[in-house]
């Protein structure tokens, strides 16, 4: 309906919405709704559609077409832009993921409206939406507002409060018969990374990070053991990545991934300003470092000054103990 807040569905590419959508839907409801979803996919499952209803969507605009997989801007932007022009939503929100980041930027350009990327706060100010987003590598926050609707924004994961699940609530599903443009980009292959068995860095609720103090690539197994006990992703500082100990995709910081987990545990991480930029919005920060002067202690909620090779295995044991109870 006109004036709705659209939440663009990010899914697991197998027909199920990702959990981060609860945060987007929760925020859309807090902004006053009406909350609707738009789902572009080659295949939506019934369970997935039910889930969106339970998370608060009153309606799901479903664009289901084989031509929509894999994501390509050239196939996704025209049908959604057309639908938005017809239905006049007041806002279009999506979580920050690799494809949503690009898609929402292109969509905003197509519609000729502003984009607030990587937003960490949204608030109605009278009849205007105001977004807060980190700038200068998270050293400052910027308040932004739009010249016209629809207000387009991407939302940083793990920042917004998730919607309460309302069992039994369902969304009206409206299938949109859109023309999907022929794609110029041809997928050759998808190269999977070696599975770590641990969560994805940017989505994880708990992140463990190892810095220069790890002394070498062989020692990350200590952190991975802890990760498998508490269900955490394992990342690294730039110093560790530049030393070749970990691949680039594990780098946390200004020139790596920005994370905002519920719990961050840094081992042998000094806390260079560019690392802090990538993790300072974490809810709880724990630092373990031999150097009591390490800058990371300035932003840590809890710190242990000590040898990580002594602390980390004990901590893993203690976590195991706690979670076995």
């Amino acid at each position: 309906m006109a004036g709705a807040i659209w939440c663009v569905v990010e899914d697991d590419r197998k027909g199920t919405p990702k959990k981060v959508m609860t945060e987007v839907l929760g925020e859309a409801a807090r902004l006053g709704g009406p909350v609707e979803c738009v789902w572009l996919t080659d295949k939506a499952t019934d369970d997935g559609l039910t889930q969106l209803g339970g998370w608060g969507a009153t309606k799901v605009w479903l664009l289901e077409n084989a031509g929509l997989a894999p994501y390509r801007g050239e196939t996704w932007v025209p049908p959604l832009a057309e639908l938005a022009a017809k239905e006049s939503p007041k806002a279009i929100l999506a979580p920050v993921t690799s494809r949503m980041r690009e898609f929402m930027a292109r969509l905003a350009a197509k519609l000729g409206v502003g984009l607030s990327a990587d937003s960490v706060g949204l608030k109605m100010d009278g009849d205007k939406l105001v977004a807060t987003r980190p700038v200068y590598a998270g050293k400052l926050l910027s308040r932004v507002t739009w010249a016209k609707q629809p207000w387009i924004a991407t939302l940083r994961p793990n920042v917004f409060k998730p919607a309460e699940v309302q069992a039994g609530k369902t969304a009206q599903v409206e299938r949109v018969s859109a023309t999907i443009p022929a794609a110029h980009m041809k997928l050759v292959e998808r190269r999977e990374e070696a599975a770590t068995g641990l969560p994805e860095l940017t989505e994880a609720e708990i992140v463990i990070s190892g810095g220069r103090g790890m002394k070498g690539p062989e020692n990350y197994v200590i952190l991975e053991e802890m990760g498998s006990v508490i269900g955490a992703a394992v990342g690294a500082s730039r110093a560790a990545v530049d030393a070749g100990w970990r691949p680039h995709r594990f780098q946390i910081g200004q020139t790596g991934r920005t994370i905002s987990p519920k719990l961050y545990l840094g081992f042998g991480v000094s806390g260079a300003i560019q690392h802090l930029a990538g993790m300072r919005t974490s809810k709880v920060i724990v630092a373990v470092n031999k150097d009591p002067e390490a800058p990371i202690f300035k932003i840590a909620d809890y710190g242990i000054v000590g040898d990580l090779f002594e602390v980390a295995p004990l901590l893993t044991q203690e976590f195991k103990h706690l979670l076995d109870k």
Partner: protein, 259 residues
């Protein structure tokens, strides 16, 4: 093959940034300016494509005030052939879309077969200009690329874009826009010869009017910058490691409810 590289001048990563008396801007006093690190990957890749093909031209372009010329000099010192400086006070408050429109106008004038940029500039951290430029031009784009290979007749490019859990490899017809992710390459340092040579290379100054931009009114406006909320003071847990670890786990569970 002609390649356009879009670069941005940004404060150095180690620089402390402070809000100026104008709450919408930072205090530029004492700031060290650099080429945004991701843009260096883009410059490097453009130069490698040219070197591999043994011919071609790499043109660097930036939007920014007078000082942004330094970023172009750095690009020229690395090996770019010439540069274009879109320098117009009307673009001071440009949002990503306004920047993309200005760059699109430059692209139309220059008609390159490929546009490269960094995945994001590390000042606004929006990571949107490359994708929006592609949209304004009606070109395909691939974001966060980790590898690329241009085919022999420069009609297609094969790229690997980074997505959650892996790489997606695409064949894309040129022209196209690509944004560089860390890991694409290791940018070269300018040589002394490069730095000297850069002084003689052309930097063309361009105004919004030269690009035929009808409007430079931003769609997204910054109303204020603000400092981060201070984190509550933390606690160093003292004592023997064994006891400290126990106390840490207790605090995480009972006080912080983080596990």
């Amino acid at each position: 093959m002609k390649i356009l590289v879009a670069v941005k001048q940004v404060p150095d990563t180690a620089t402390q940034v402070k809000i100026s008396s104008d709450p919408k801007a930072i205090d530029t006093a004492g700031i060290t300016w650099i080429v945004s690190p991701y843009d260096e990957f883009a410059i490097e890749e453009a130069l490698r494509i040219k070197e591999k093909r043994g011919q071609g031209e790499v043109v660097a372009v930036t939007l920014g005030p007078d000082r942004a010329k330094e970023a172009l000099r750095s690009a020229l010192a690395m090996g770019c052939d010439r540069a274009i400086h879109v320098n117009d006070p009307a673009l001071t408050a440009a949002d990503t879309l306004t920047m993309a429109r200005a760059l699109a106008a430059v692209v139309k004038q220059e008609a390159p077969q490929l546009v490269l940029c960094g995945r994001q500039a590390i000042d606004d951290d929006a990571g949107a200009v490359g994708a929006q430029l592609a949209e304004v031009l009606g070109w395909p784009c691939a974001s966060w690329i980790m590898e690329e290979a241009v085919d022999g007749d420069a009609k297609n490019i094969r790229v690997g874009r980074q997505v959650e859990g892996g790489l997606e490899i695409f064949d894309i017809p040129l022209p196209a826009v690509l944004s560089a992710q860390k890991g694409l390459n290791e940018p070269r340092y300018p040589t002394l010869k490069g730095i000297m040579g850069a002084k003689k290379k052309e930097i063309k100054d361009v105004k919004a009017a030269d690009l035929g931009l009808s409007s430079t009114t931003p769609e997204l406006t910054v109303t204020a910058l603000e400092a981060l909320p201070a984190r509550p003071p933390g606690r160093i847990i003292p004592g023997e490691v064994k006891d400290a670890v126990k106390e840490l786990v207790r605090s995480l569970r009972e006080d912080a409810k983080a596990i």
